[in-house]
Amino acid sequence: MSIASTSVIQVIPRTRRGVELFLLIIAVAVAVGAYINIGITVQGKIPASTGYYAAGIGVLALVAHITLRYKAPYADPVLLPCAVLLNGLGLAMIHRIDLAYLVRGIERSAAAPQQITWTAVGVMLFLGVILLIRDHRRLQALTYTAGLAGLILLILPLVPVLGVELKGARIWVSLFGLSFQPGEFAKVCLVIFFAGYLVVKRDVLTLAGHRFLGLDLPRARDLGPILVAWACSLGVLVFEKDLGTSLLFFGLFLTLLYVSTERIGWILIGGMLFAVGAWFAYATFGHVRVRVNTWLDPFGNIDLGGFQLVTALYGQGWGGILGRGLGEGRPELTPVSQSDFIMSSFAEELGLTGLIALILVYTLIVERGMRTALGCRDIFGKLVAVGLAMSFAVQVFVVVGGVTGLIPLTGLTTPFMSLGGTSLVANWAIIALLLRISDQARRPQTPAAPVSDETIALAVQR
């Protein structure tokens, strides 16, 4: 009998929707709690808008949850609550900085209501993805369409009239008075393209090659795609002056190449190309050199753009280990504290403790994405899941690393928290895709029929 218990276990998949609901209630409670806390410390009373805010977050979370319950019952139960928590806390902090501007008499239109609207749009897109894409494998048919779309989205900001240069980077597109960052969606399209492409090409990339110094190196002609990706990412860096997207783009491609071929040689070649590209960028472009110099010595380069980082570091130091408390810091002293620097705003008011908690929530999302990839049964799905999870990880690393001075500052948004519609909506779409794949991954292959004793007995005899 001992053989039976170790070698044959029929796992009956469980949907875990109840767990998700429970976690969602906690996430909404934390976000609403933060909102109330801010009202009490800054204005001395529970804000009148609490009901509106709580209902907004709560209803959106509930609708998303119910949709999953019926349309993707086996989906990962942790991803949605994490997203709701981050989105809710981000909203609370944006509102808090709105109040700080108000209190100090700085004229500025409130950003939080705008972000609530975008949250609603984001959740609607989330529902759209869940409802329209019943099986992620269908996306594989769109490989080259996605590739083309991704490329167009990347190039869009360079189109005269459409593209807008803001804060030194040309990554915005303005259309009918609405502006958005196409790069946020290009990311998703490119993941789909890379995954679809690699599913087809992985054999030739894996098997053909030379052995050199104990490493399996790819054939020169197979280097094509990586060189194209490298050139594209350099192009983004050069023409749009966007270090973040360029790094993200190339990092994603390398990740997927490595995962699909399992050949470490690709990483080495990619790493070398990255080093060459980075050196070239540093040597050639003034804006890259300025970023690197302000990173190395922000206090010595205050006038040259170190000011942002310096005030952000002051905020983090002011927060210390336990933080000033929500509403008791001065996050508004840091430029763009509601968007690029929102994590340093949290670091100031919630302290190191709060910042680490937030990073852990991001880690949780990334690792649930990786878990989804591991469990997924088709290669395309695996690659898409790894790609999306890794894009999340790289983005969080690049932006939080930037505002805390670990790496040079680049212009990426903090997923779910930064003020800004495009990013928020795109991230909701990414979470929806991950959930869709995880539903597929965790779903029993055949409808889970009750397992009879005879089946087990048969299995044991064999």
Binding site: V259, Q316, I321, I356, I359, L360, M370, V400, L406
Partner: protein
């Protein structure tokens, strides 16, 4: 493929761990350093909402800097009732330009963040009282300070008075001065304008000439040369030295003349006593060359040259030149060439002689007390160096009394009090007027106060400038103020 995915999962965790490690470094380990940086608005803003403690002087704890409730965007306004009188001591406390002098060095006590006040802070939180900073009391004697200010009025220069027995600073004045109220305002634009104006002023009103400016000490440095000579054991005040009208310096064609162009008291040889009384350059030039640069430097350093004193306000170190040749030694011996001294340092020389050869460490903060005048800390007098033996000190004392009684220092005489002193007139460059010096102490038998006065530019004719005429009367006023003779 799953192996590679697992590796990617680990890679992602490593990225996140790097973020956490870096943030821990910043928020746990670098926080203090970041909070101490000048220009950190979070910190300055929060300090402007603390009731900063006053800086006081005298027995009545008269405030020379205090915080008053303000009804603008900050809760308190720093004010300086003494205006320019104590500006170089208190320094300024500016929202825009940070802090200086006592406001800077005693910041932790003044804003109440000093570790010694931790318990009080906790009690304030418990009892729901607002945090209040401690009172910093200075050693300054207000009437001595006032005497120095009125004596120097209209001139450029500095006065430092020390209690020779303890090292307490009794007066420290630098003129022209500035009004720190102008820098303490909350209106950034006005403060900015005041700052630019003060910095552009060619009279340098923000420069603390008493402790942070170096002058050639001129003939007052002969006290150090004399101390070195007597300490060598080869000389007494009665020893004869060469004192021609003009000294031909070896190795050069340069000469060193006496101030009046004559020899010292009618003869080409004079005793050290007479040479000091008449402040003969040639005699001390010869003496310096006989003693050598090393002996002079050692003696100067025993009086405190080469060290930075009064860290409370950041005094600069006075200096004796490195490795001078023989003619340079001769010039150094009379306080010329590259010898440079702060008025504080020359006051310390006088105080050291007055205190039987023992130089006390100068200090400015006498005590720090809480709001209820409960003492948190008190500065105890400390010995700095034994500059000369009590015997040599007594010989120097006798010679300095002679200078005031019979020599160049007569304008410092006080009826009924024996005063010891030494004049000085220091040349810098031919195009600017010489500096007038006077160092002294009184009463000679039981010294209560030692004073150094330097007048940079009195706006009088060059021929009229001498330490005795210009600087000695100011020193006299200050000494009388301390001795309650006014």
């Amino acid at each position: 493929m799953n192996k590679a995915i697992r590796r990617m999962a680990v890679a992602a965790i490593i990225l996140m761990l790097a973020l956490m490690a870096n943030s821990t470094y910043i928020q746990a380990f670098r926080a203090e350093e970041l909070n101490a940086k000048n220009g950190n608005r979070r910190v300055t803003d929060s300090q402007f909402s603390v009731n900063r403690g006053p800086i006081t002087v005298g027995n009545g704890n008269t405030p020379i800097a205090e915080s008053k409730p303000s009804d603008d965007r900050y809760e308190y306004q720093r004010t300086y009732p003494g205006r320019g009188d104590y500006a170089h001591l208190t320094g300024y406390y500016s929202f825009v330009f940070g802090r200086s002098a006592i406001e800077q060095s005693q910041n932790a006590a003044l804003n109440g963040s000093d570790p010694s006040m931790a318990f009080r802070r906790v009690m304030d939180v418990v009892t729901n009282k607002r945090q209040r900073g401690a009172t910093v009391k200075l050693t300054i004697n207000p009437s001595a300070q006032a005497a120095a200010i009125s004596g120097l009025k209209g001139k450029k220069g500095a006065v430092v008075a020390i209690d020779p027995k303890t090292g307490r600073i009794l007066a420290s004045v630098s003129l022209p001065s500035y009004d720190p109220n102008r820098l303490a305002g909350h209106d950034v634009k006005t403060v900015q304008e005041a700052w630019e104006q003060l910095n552009a002023d060619k009279d340098k009103p923000m420069l603390n000439r008493a402790e942070r400016e170096l002058y050639p000490p001129g003939s007052t440095f002969k006290l150090v040369t004399a101390a070195a000579a007597l300490s060598s054991g080869k000389y007494t005040p009665e020893s004869q030295v060469d004192s021609p009208a003009v000294l031909n310096l070896p190795q050069t064609t340069a000469t060193l003349p006496n101030q009046n162009g004559q020899n010292c008291g009618g003869s080409n040889r004079a005793t050290i006593l007479v040479a000091l009384r008449k402040s003969c350059n040639t005699a001390f030039g010869v003496l310096g060359m006989e003693l050598g640069a090393e002996a002079l430097r050692e003696q100067a350093e025993k009086f405190g040259f080469g060290e930075r004193h009064l860290p409370e306000i950041g005094a600069v170190a006075s200096r004796f030149p490195d490795d001078p040749n023989a003619p340079q030694v001769a010039q150094s011996a009379i306080g010329q060439f590259d010898v440079r001294s702060t008025p504080l340092q020359m006051a310390m020389v006088a105080a050291g002689i007055a205190n039987k050869g023992e130089v006390m460490k100068p200090y400015l903060v006498s005590e720090i007390t809480t709001e209820g005048l409960k003492k948190i800390s008190e500065t105890k007098p400390e010995s700095l160096h034994q500059a000369v033996t009590p015997e040599v000190a007594e010989q120097l004392n006798r010679m300095m009394v002679d200078v005031v009684a019979n020599g160049t220092g007569q304008p410092a005489r006080i009826d009924g009090v024996e005063v010891a002193g030494k004049t000085g007139t220091a040349q810098t460059s031919p195009e600017r007027p010489p500096y007038a010096w006077f160092v002294s102490y009184a009463p000679a038998s039981d010294p209560q106060v030692a004073v150094a006065v330097v007048v940079e530019d009195a706006g009088v004719r060059r021929d009229d400038i001498s330490g005795g005429q210009l600087a000695a009367p100011i020193a006299k006023d200050v000494m009388e103020a301390v001795l309650n003779r006014r």
